[in-house]
Every structure is written in structure tokens, then in C-alpha cells.
Amino acid sequence: MPDSIDRSIEITRRRFLAGSAMAGFAAFLAACGTQGTGTAAPTGTSGTPATPPPSTAPVETKGVEATYSAELNWANWCCYLDVDPNDDTKWKTLEDFKAANGTTVNYQEVIDENEGFVASISNQITAGQDPGWDIIVVTDWMVARLVRLGWVEQFSLNNMPNYVANVRDVYKDQDWDPTMDHHAPWQTGMTGIGYDPTKTGELTSLKSLFEVNSKWKGKTEYLTEMRDSIGLTMLALGLDPRNPTRDGADQAVAAMLKARSDGIVRDVAGNYYTEDLVSGAAVLCMAWSGDVVGLASDAPNIKFLFPDEGVMFWTDNAVIPKGAVHKGTAELMIDWCYVPEHQAQIEAGISYVTPVKGVKELYEASTDQKALAEDPLRFPPAEIEPKLVQFGILSEEDEKYFNEQFAKVIGV
């Protein structure tokens, strides 16, 4: 891992979930000190007149006919945008956007789970009213549901030349949005194995998670996220989580229950598995990539493994909810983030896999950000890319079935 990347203050999205749920909001604020908070409108409300874009602004959005609205409402997850290095109450990208286009973005980190957030705007959407947000960011399976329900606006791709040109190919060909005009990938993370090779020896396979071995018996943990645990187990069993079937879920659940009764599994705790890894109570866990890298300072022995069978990857996506009043400006905002220079600035402030082409090249060409291009968390090595597996989309009935079966694994 490059030394120049300081992860001591990084809080990944899922770590935030754990933190806010368990330690309370106050503790989170303390931990997030340098990241600013979502409650203070980061873009400021001074209403200063638009100034010309900085001369370094790299790409002009050509052929755009839409006019910019004075305001834009954007709901996102924690820690998903770059903080202004000079003022940690502001977001640099949004400051730049305002300077260029005069739009004040009301950016709020109000999303901490997909279901709950969508439930909070579903009444307005079904009643044909303004949902209050122009951009929301939700995980791919939720986008599939929203598209199915007709709850999101279709993009005018004319407004979004950078998005069309720069979205990476791996994100295309989604069954639920083959024309790529209902969602724009925002960031991606990975789920694999976090383990302590000094205790377990070097591992390569997901099968270790289900193997009775005195080195990790009673010191293995699975995740409470259904798609992560079932997905990794299906991979271990040689099944394909891209096409999740009820039979596959049954087999995966049976394998996990057997591991539990064999005494392999200490807990299916999810969020706080990192603490058990650090304390040594667990030596082998299903783990989120960002978390494990974040542990480097506390527990240098813990490694993130891209297992032979593959890793699960999930993507959060920007969508425009049905009835949004600033649809045109929302498209321009999303497009703005797809300009490689702008994305490079965002990506330097967070640590996820970017969906935008050309960012890595920008880092490689720069003098002070070369290390970022080497970061496997932001740019998984080429040999890893074929191993990235996205959990297939479930129908509502199947999702209920999967959740019910998985509840047995969690013990509820």
C-alpha cells in the first residue's frame, strides 16, 4: 500500500453505517471531524454571483441547451464527496459547480439505508408530487426496483455528453437499464475476505470460510448484508450470484448454517467485525475492502484477499426521482462529475472504485497524486477485474424469500 495515502481519517460508507447505528450521532461527528458534516449546507448560501470557471477547468460541456436552476437538491450517503481542503464545511466539487454555473447545491448526507430512504419519498412520488430531491444515490438493486416501478426520470442524454463518453464499459449492459439513461453509477466497493495470515497462513479460496480448521474455528465471521454473505457463499459453492436462484439461496444458507453448527462461525455480526479482527477475536471474515485497508494502522497484519472464486462488488448510483423539479440541472450536475478532472478531484477525497474513465491516467500523469493510481482499492488490478461479481437483481418475491432464508443465518 502506498505510504502517501493517509487513511487515518477515512470513513467509508459502510463504516459510517456501523458508526451511526452503534455509537450514536455524536460519536460519529467526532470521528468525522475533518470531513465536515452533512447538516451544514456545505455550499454556502451567500448567493454570490457566478464567477467564471477557473482557467484550469478542463472540459466544457458542449451543446448543452438546458438552463441551470438557481438551486439543486441532492441526497447522498456519508463521505461520498470531496471536502474543500481550505474549508471543511464545504464540498469542493459543489463550490466549483456553483462558480461555473451559479447553481447552489443543497447537498445532504441523509441516506443511511436504501429501503428507509426510498420509503421517505415514496408517498410524494406515487402522488405525482415533488419528492424534494433532484438527485438521490441508491444501490444497484434498488435502482432496478425504482426503474421497474417507474419511480425515476429518464435522462436526456443530450445534456450529458461526459457521462455518455466516460462511463466505464464494465458498468454497461445492465438488464434493468440497458440504455443507461435512468441511472449513472456513482461509486463502487468490494466484498471479499479480511484475514490475518500470521494466524491462518496464506489463504486463496472462499472455501476456507466453510472449512473446519483449528486455526480459525470459532474465529470466523460472516456479514449481515444478505447479498454479501449469500453472494460470497454462492461463489464458494461454485454457483453464480449474477443469476441468484432460490435453489442457490437454499444451498448457500445450508452451507452457512452447517458452518455455524460446526462451530466455525463466531458471529454473523456484520458491521463491527473489524473490531474483532483488530482484537484477534476473529482471524477470518467476510469483509468490505475499504474497511480492511482502513485497519492498516491498528492491525497491520490484517489483509484484504481477492479470493480465487471472485469478490462481490456493489455500486451506488445517482438517479433523478420522478417528479424532481430541477431535472435538467440534475443531469448537468451528474455530467459534471463525469468529467475525468472533476472525478479525479472527488476520487482523491474518498476511496472507492470510480466508474469514470481516464481518472487513473490523470493520477499517473500528475506529480503529487501518483500513489492514488497504484491503490488497489480505487483501481483494482487488471487481473482482479474479471473476478468482480455483481449480485443479480431479485424480483420482490425472490427478495423476500432470500431475506427470510438468510434470517436463519443471522439467527433471527
Binding site: 450514536g24 429501503e115 454473523v268 473490531e275 477475536a281 420482490e396 443465518v409 433471527v412
Partner: protein
């Protein structure tokens, strides 16, 4: 003037009643209605009385969790009582000038969040933490020994978190005991100790631990013998006849209130089982949380909530009948 006077009680009641109406009664009605729904988030819900089947459908697969909730909260209630009573007794009878400080110390943990307190137990009980680390290093415990992620940790967490709820009511009851009654009892030949104290103490201590061992599947022999020994010593040297005849009966209202304040919230608790337990020790509260927030199965979650409430109500009614405050104050003293 008269009429205005008549209105005063209602005016005084109004804020409380309105509060209860909006924030207790109305949500309760909503949850009750939801328990007769069928449907889903996407398709919408419809109400029908024929959906009473939600109740048996919801409860049938989670009967083990109901059993665990009962076992853990009952155990924790007994443990809090055993810890809280001597604590409250010492503060009330021997606190002297330090009384207020000691009471403050009991309430002090409440100045931090419930979640933080529970999480700090993860550190205390850690497999190689401050308690078990040194013991393991000294070879007194096997290296694979752990308390976290077992029922023991869940019960310990509940016991700790609810200790003040047991201590304070008992303290208040003991504080009110007129010590002249104890002196009078002594004058009437209530001895400083009881001959049968040794036997009763041994039976109570040993029985309690044997029961726990049976319920949690430990090997019972050694802990039971140890507990019987401790019980015998306490019964022989610490429990006086005056205490059994006067002080304890007078403090029973505090015990009664404390047990309810501990047992009822403990039954619905899910935080301790979530953070300190593992899949084998989840309680009914965890199931309800999962049905509401993960599965979005509002009808089943609502049905389970009502079953839990009903169950607690029945238990409390039986308890009140057996150990009601009225009987305590009227007949036994």
C-alpha cells in the same frame, strides 16, 4: 367558579393525556392495524380481519427466541436483584454522609449513551481483553475460552444495563423503613442470625446456579457447590432474623417495582443480544427488528410486537397477583 374548579383536574391531565394519545395510543393502533395487513411495500397493503393468521405464522418459527427472551430477562432480573439489594441496603442503611455521592455513582453511567455502555462491554469482555487476557496468560483459562458471542455475555449486558432500575426503587423502599421496627423486633427476640440461615442460603445459592447451568448448558457440579457454599456463608453470617421478619418484607414494594422495571424492557431488548451475543443467542427483539427494517414485513413485525406486549402483560398480571403491592402492604406486615 365551581364549574371552573371542576375543570382543573382535566386541564392538569390534558398535557399528559394528549402526549399519550399522540405518541402512544395512536402508534399502537397503527401497529395493531398493520398486524392485519397483507401485501408488500411495492404492491401496497390491504387490511382484512382474515389476516389474523399473521399471528400464528409469525410466532411459530420464532418460538426458540421467545424462550430465550424469557430465560435471559428472567435470569437478568434475578441477577440484578441479587446485586442491587445489598447495594441499595448498604447505601440506605450505612451510606451516612456519602449517601448522595453513592446514589450519584449508580446513576452516573446514564450520562453516557446506552449503546456506548453496551459496546464498552465488548472491550471489557474481549477474548484477550483486560479481564480474560491476564487469566489466559496465567493459564487459568483455556485459550479458546470466551464470553463474548455467548448467552452469558447477553445476560451480563442486560444485568449491567438495568441495574440502576432495580437499585433505585429498592433504595427508596429501604430508606423508608423505620429502624425502630427493627429494634422492636430485636427486643422481641429476633436474633442477629438465623439457625436455619446456613441451610436456606445453601439451597437458594446452589439451586439458582444449578438452574442457570441447566438452562445454559454448562456443567453444573462445581459452580453449584461453590454457589451453595457462598449462599450458606451469606445465610449464616449476613442475614439476621430481624432482616427476614421486618426489613425485607417492608422493602418488597421496591423489589416488586424494580423487577418490573428490569424484566419488561429486558424482554423487548435487542441491543445486548445484537452486540454481545451471536446468532445462537438472538432474542425476540432482534427478530422484530429484522422483520421491520430488513425484511420490510410490517404485518408480521406488528403481529410479533403485539404478541410480545400481550405476553408481558400476562406475566406482569400473574406477578402482580402473586406479589401485588396491596397485599404486601396490607397483609404481610
Amino acid at each position: 367558579m365551581q364549574r371552573r374548579r371542576a375543570l382543573i383536574p382535566y386541564l392538569l391531565l390534558a398535557p399528559g393525556l394528549l402526549w399519550l394519545l399522540f405518541f402512544f395510543a395512536w402508534p399502537l393502533v397503527q401497529v395493531f392495524v398493520a398486524s392485519f395487513w397483507s401485501g408488500s411495500v411495492e404492491r401496497g397493503y390491504s387490511f382484512s380481519l382474515s389476516n389474523w393468521v399473521n399471528y400464528p405464522t409469525a410466532i411459530e418459527p420464532v418460538l426458540p427466541h421467545v424462550g430465550r427472551s424469557l430465560l435471559y430477562s428472567a435470569t437478568a432480573t434475578v441477577l440484578t436483584l441479587l446485586i442491587a439489594y445489598p447495594l441499595a441496603y448498604t447505601i440506605a442503611m450505612r451510606g451516612g454522609r456519602a449517601k448522595n455521592l453513592l446514589l450519584f455513582l449508580i446513576v452516573a453511567p446514564f450520562f453516557t449513551s446506552f449503546l456506548l455502555r453496551t459496546l464498552s462491554w465488548k472491550i471489557l469482555l474481549g477474548d484477550s481483553g483486560v479481564i480474560f487476557g491476564p487469566l489466559k496468560d496465567a493459564g487459568l483459562l483455556p485459550p479458546e475460552f470466551r464470553v463474548l458471542a455467548t448467552p452469558m455475555a447477553v445476560v451480563a449486558g442486560i444485568t449491567y444495563n438495568f441495574l440502576p432500575f432495580m437499585t433505585l426503587p429498592i433504595y427508596v423502599a429501604l430508606e423508608k423503613v423505620d429502624f425502630r421496627l427493627v429494634e422492636a423486633a430485636r427486643d422481641l427476640y429476633a436474633g442477629p442470625w438465623r439457625r436455619q440461615g446456613t441451610v436456606v442460603g445453601a439451597i437458594v445459592g446452589g439451586g439458582l446456579v444449578a438452574g442457570l447451568a441447566l438452562a445454559f448448558g454448562w456443567s453444573p457440579a462445581i459452580p453449584t457447590i461453590l454457589a451453595a457454599l457462598v449462599g450458606a456463608i451469606i445465610g449464616r453470617f449476613l442475614i439476621s432474623e430481624a432482616f427476614v421478619r421486618v426489613t425485607f418484607p417492608l422493602s418488597l414494594p421496591g423489589v416488586f417495582a424494580g423487577s418490573l422495571l428490569t424484566f419488561i424492557p429486558a424482554m423487548g431488548d435487542y441491543v445486548n443480544a445484537e452486540f454481545l451475543g451471536n446468532p445462537d443467542s438472538r432474542m425476540l427483539g432482534n427478530v422484530i427488528q429484522n422483520r421491520f427494517l430488513t425484511q420490510n414485513d410490517f404485518p408480521e413485525a406488528s403481529a410479533l410486537s403485539f404478541i410480545l406486549m400481550g405476553g408481558i402483560l400476562v406475566i406482569v398480571m400473574i406477578y402482580t397477583r402473586v406479589l401485588g403491592t396491596d397485599q404486601l402492604t396490607q397483609s404481610r406486615v
